[in-house]
Each structure stands twice: as C-alpha cells, then as structure tokens.
Amino acid sequence: MSQTISLPASERAQSRAGRRRVGGRQRVGGRQRAGYTFVAVYVLLLLFFGFAPSVYAIYLSLTRAGGNWAGLSNFFSTGRDFRFLPAFEHIGTYLAIWLVALVVLVLFLALMLHGGVRRTVPYFRFLFYMPGALAGAASVLVWLFMLDPGVSPYDSALSLLHFSSLGQTIAPGHLPGIFAVIAFWTGAGGWIVVMNGALNNISDEVIDSAKIDGANAWQLAIHVKLPLIKKWVVYMVILAFAAGTQLFVEPQLVGEASLGLVSNTWSPNQLAYYLATQNANFNYAAAISVDLLLVGLIAAAILVFRSKMFEIE
C-alpha cells in the first residue's frame, strides 16, 4: 500500500536527481552502516536479555540436569506426563474462544471509537484500558468477589446462568470461558489503544474521499480502514496467539482466589512452572516452553509471510 505523496513534482525530480548526483553506492553503504548504529544498543540488550537466555532455555530442553545430552527425551517424557495432554486440551478450547473474541471485539471497539463521537474517544479509551492496570496479583481480590454470586456486582448475570456459588461459577467446564472473559477484560484495553492509534494514522483525506465515493460507516470500516491497519492487526494476532497458548496468570489467580479449586497445572505454562519450581526440573520445564515457543512461532511465521509484514513498502 503506497503512501500519499504530496511533494510537488519539481521537488520529486530534484530529489531523484540529487541521488544520482551524489553517487548511489557510497550513499547506500553509508546508510547501511548507519542502520547498524541505530540498532546497536538494542542488539546488545537483545543478545544479552533475549537471545542468549532463549538459546540457553533451548539448550536446557535438550540436556539433562547434569549437562549431559538428552536429545529429544525431555520432550517425550513431558509429552507422556499425565498432565500434558489435558493442559493442551484446555488451552485449545481457551484459545478458540478467546482469540476470536479478542480480535473481533478489539477491532469492533477500535473502529466504533474511531468512527464515532471523536470528543469521547479519550474518555472511552481510558475506561476500556482501566482493567489493564490490574495485572496478575492485583486482580485476585477483584475476581474473588466478581465470580462469587453472593457478593458480586454481577450477581444478576450470574444467577441468569444459574450459578449460585463460586464453586458453580468456576466448575471445570466453565473455566476456558471464565479465563477468556478475564483475559479479555485485562487485555482488550491495551490493544484498543494500539489499534486506535493505528487508525488515527489514516489521513482524513483518504476517509473523506471514501465517504464521497458513497461508503457508509460499515463499508468504510471494513473496506477502507481495516486494510490500512493490516500490519497492526497481524501483530496483534501473532502476539495474542502466543499469549493465549502461554496462558498462566488467569488460571493461577482464579486458583488462588478460589483457594485451590483450579489445578495449578491447568495450562501448559503452569505445568512448566510447576516442574521448574516444585521439582526443580528446569529441563522438563524448558521442554514444555519450547513446545509452546514452536506453536507460537509457526503461527507467527504463517501470519508474517502471508501478510508480508517484514517488507518495507
């Protein structure tokens, strides 16, 4: 998708001429070197706090406790663990509900905000974002009360669903849905902020000309705005998919809030954590983490290549 160009033609010609004048190869080489300086500090931190630990984690997954080579045996051992398959089944159900709800509702709300009463945008954006501040431990207390029909403001909603106690609300079959609701509640606001920012990037001229062409609000949203923020959407789907497969906080905090009614190995990431902390088996934990990494990477690769996200336009 090309950008609107408002440079007058004369200037454009001048800049092209200028490039030819100075000498293409020298310029490009200088730009290459400069490119490295832009990313230098980041690359340093990336190597030290991102890449090296990731490589070490992968190394852990392929070795045993003493450092001996284990090949794929850690993966087989964890795969045979009685908690492994149930954890992945749980995550599958959860992802199906949550990913769809997140992407659809975030885009819906972002578009609603962008296409609605502009003056209210900062207020709604702030209100939607508020739960995002309650990450992790901060929301345990909140959900202890929200999910318990006896003390919850959502009492009427819960009784509509015939839940008369906390235990009924978080019955095992309801858990994927409950976690999806909590994760959406916490996470949607941040993505709405990002998408709203992306939509604000679209020039008014594009929108106005589309309106003149006869687009109604719906067509404007689907056929004009959405394609223009494609890169952002792909980014969101990649990260949401990875975050979904790596679900940890929600089952952990509902488990705490309910005093143990949710297993602390409900999700694969929890199982990895359990193996690392309770059994000090960092190798098994790393193997499960690598499983999750592979799942996320495959999804990311598909999305990146199909959407050509890495191309410079």
Binding site: D148, V151, A171, N201, E205, E256, L261
Partner: protein, 453 residues
C-alpha cells in the same frame, strides 16, 4: 496513507529539547539507580565481631515470634526477611533454593514454612536443603518434649529435618446453646454425629454440622478414619488404597450428609460463608485454629461469646482408640549450607520451643512445655464455653501418623480434583478412586512406587 508535514519544526518540543530531556532524565535515573545499588550492596550488616547475622525467612504472621525472640535474646543478631511462607503451595521456598543451588550462595539460615509437606520436597534431591537435626545439632531432651507425632512431617526416613511450630489437630466444635435448644447431646462417635446431621437436615434445614468444601477435608475426615491413601511405607513407596475399608466406611458415612445438605460442599473461607451460615453452624469438625479463625472472627461466623465449645474429636463407634486429622502447623527449617550451624541451631530451637517465641505463636505449640502457657492464654479470654486446654491436650496426642506428608500436596490435589465434583453433586465414595489415581500419578511422577496393599 499519512499526510505530509510542511517541514516546519514544532514550536513546542524541539528534537534537541527531547534529546536534552532524555539525557537529563537518563542521567538522573542512573544516578538514582546507582545510589540504590550502592545502598543495597552496602546494606548495613551487623558489625558484631563474632558472628554474621542469621538470616531468617518468615511470613508476616510469624514475624512477631521472631521479634519476641530477638527481644529476649539481644546478643544474637537476626536479619529478618518476610515472604509468603510457601502458602497455598506457591513453592516459593523451593524455587529460591533451586536458584541458590545453581549459583552456590544466597540460602537463608532459617526458613519458616506454612506447608506441612515442604520438608519432604526440600529434603530430597535436587534441593537437599535442610540440615539434619537429630544427629546432635538439637539436644535429644528437646526432641523428646514434642507431642507424639508432632515431628513426623519432619522425618525423612530416620533423619529429622525440621522442628514443628504448631499443631492443628481436628476437634469437634459445637454451638452449645443451639444444641441445648434442640435437645441434642454432644456426640462422641462419628455415627452419632451422622445421626444428628440427618435429623438436622429434616427438622432444621439450612443448619450444618460440618463442611466438605475445603482443600484439607481429606485430612479432616479420611485421616481420622485411618484411611490408607497417602501412607509412605518407606522412602520410595507409598500405600495408596482407595478401596481400603477405612476410606470406604468414612465415605459412606459422609454420602447422605453431603446429599441432604447438613455437610455442604462450601469453603469456610469463601467470601459468602459468614453471610450464609452465621448462626447456622450447629457443629463443625475442624482444626484447632478454627476457634480464632472462623468463630471468633468478624470475617467469619462472628459467633457470640459463650456460644462455642471445643469437644473431643470423634471416635469410630466400636473402636478403642480415637484418631484425628492434622491440618496445618508450620515448620522451622535450618539450612544445611549455613556457616554457623551451632548458633543457627540454637536460634532454631529458640524459635520453635522458647516461651518468648511460642507465647505469641499463632497456633497450639507442638512443643509440649510451651503448649500449656499458650492454651492458658487462649482460655483467659473467656470466649469459649469451657476451657480448651484439656480437650486440646488430649487431642494433640491422637493425630494419626499413617497419613504421611509427601512431596505432592494432597490438600491441593483434593481441592483441584475432588471438591469441584462434590460441588457438582458427586458422592464422596465416587471420589475415592479419583483421589487415589491422582495421588498415584503424582507419586509416580515424583519417582515413587505405588502399592495398594
């Protein structure tokens, strides 16, 4: 996509201004950080010439005990760090010890754990954290003064690897006026208790004689019945027999009560327990600390003074010996990596047994000489209908030790696997095999053999 600038720089924040600001803030931030680093690195350590300060990790509830001990022993320098105590199976001690093991330093000298089974995990590979105490570090005279069975969670084989802080034996809590009003006598056997429950369900629905919604209900009921579902018969084998007649008989006793609502699957610490059941608890089988935690608490039932009494734990009719369950009680653990073992052992014994510390303990002391003073103080408040002391003293000797502490947390497993099914309407009997297989899975994954004989 975007419209172009006209090239004019903004009036407000110039790019140079941004850079300067960033530079200033970065410098300030780094200066602050280095001050903090300096402060952290040069944290004022005790300059006591003969000993380094002893690092003690406790949770907030036990902080008063350490402070009291420090006050009574001013010559000993203690560095107290508060943490979550490993509560609810968080594994915080295990995760820190695992990290320290990797780098070879950082272990605390003394750790308090609220989890009865922590020593079983910490004492095994790869943690190998606790110091063995019964090879001379702690005098045998001290160890002999512990109530029978109080130290069993600390035993790995024959090695003693911790000191028990408090006991949490189950007793029968009774609402005396209510019992009198309806003409019930306080039961002494499980069968009598069941009969009252069925009567209450018919005549006074909504009133309860116990609960089945907490994680430790397996200890409350099954341990009291001598059910062999989690019995370490040696250091690598666990006896897990859900079909054990003792387990079955208790489950059968509970089934009708669960069904008719006199023993509902509710959690006594749930947000709505006090709301739904204040004044409706006729009896409750539960640990000794229920007195202060549930009855004499505004967050709990808030029972009026002079209403509640602790009666002796229930016996199985026809049995000559009473056994009861044990729910809780913390452990004082000493590090095997400490550089001052004798001094640390002295402090450990002091925290676990001295009157200075135990007088402000949160629970009934496992160390018998300290227990008398502690319970006398509880009785002094006059809250209970009759003194707790005689009932507690006897119940403390009746904890069934066939229910072992193991690396896997049976409370957590019960809560996650059984309680949701009880809430959904399943019988207790149907959950015995469920629990049995869960224990079997966890035991095997921790390297244990499982037998059902």
């Amino acid at each position: 996509m975007s419209s172009l600038t006209t090239g004019k720089p903004r009036r407000t924040l110039t790019s140079r201004g941004i850079r300067t600001a960033v530079a200033v803030f970065t410098a300030a931030g780094m200066a602050c950080a280095s001050v903090a680093v300096g402060a952290a690195a040069a944290a004022p350590r005790a300059t006591h010439s003969s000993a380094k300060p002893i690092v003690v990790w406790v949770d907030a509830a036990r902080l008063t005990m350490v402070k009291a001990y420090e006050k009574a022993n001013p010559g000993i320098k203690i560095d107290t760090v508060t943490f979550d105590g490993g509560a609810n199976g968080s594994g915080s001690i295990e995760s820190k010890v695992a990290l320290f093991n990797r780098v070879g330093h950082g272990w605390p000298d003394i750790v308090f754990s609220t989890e009865q089974n922590d020593v079983q995990t910490l004492g095994a590979a790869p943690f190998n954290f606790p110091a063995t105490l019964n090879n001379g570090l702690v005098p045998t005279s001290v160890l002999k003064n512990y109530a029978t069975g109080a130290l069993s969670p600390c035993l790995i084989g024959t090695k003693l690897e911790c000191l028990r802080n408090d006991l949490a034996f189950d007793v029968l809590w009774v609402d005396v006026p209510l019992m009198k009003k309806w003409g019930y006598t306080v039961p002494t056997t499980w069968q009598q208790w069941q009969a009252i429950g069925e009567s209450v369900a018919k005549k006074h629905p909504g009133y309860i004689i116990g609960t089945l919604g907490n994680s430790y209900d397996d200890a409350v009921y099954l341990q009291a019945a001598q059910c062999h579902m989690n019995d370490l018969i040696n250091s690598y084998t666990v006896l897990d027999n859900p079909a054990d007649p003792n387990c079955v008989k208790m489950a059968n006793l509970l089934n009708p009560l669960l069904k008719d609502g006199s023993v509902p699957p509710v959690n006594v610490f749930g947000a709505t327990f006090g709301k739904k059941f204040a004044g409706k608890v006729l009896m409750m089988v539960g640990p000794a600390w229920y007195g202060g935690a549930i009855f004499n608490s505004t967050s709990g039932l808030n029972s009026p003074k002079g209403t509640i009494e602790a009666a002796a734990p229930l016996t199985w009719a026809g049995s000559s010996q009473t056994w009861t369950g044990d729910v809780g009680g913390g452990l004082w653990i000493m590090s095997s990596h400490t550089t001052q073992p004798k001094l640390v052992a002295q402090v450990l014994v002091g925290l676990a047994t001295s009157s200075a510390s135990q007088d402000v303990s949160s629970g009934y002391p496992g160390y018998v000489p300290a227990a008398g003073a502690w319970i006398a103080e509880q009785d002094a408040s006059g809250y209970y209908v009759s003194p707790l002391a005689p009932v507690f003293a006897k119940a403390a000797t009746e904890i069934w030790t066939g229910w072992s502490q193991t690396r896997w947390d049976v409370f957590g497993l019960w809560a996650a696997n059984v309680t949701p099914n009880l809430i959904a309407g399943d019988t207790v009997s149907s959950q015995l095999p469920v629990m049995g297989s869960v224990i079997s899975n966890y035991a095997q994954s921790d390297g244990f053999q499982v037998t059902n004989k």
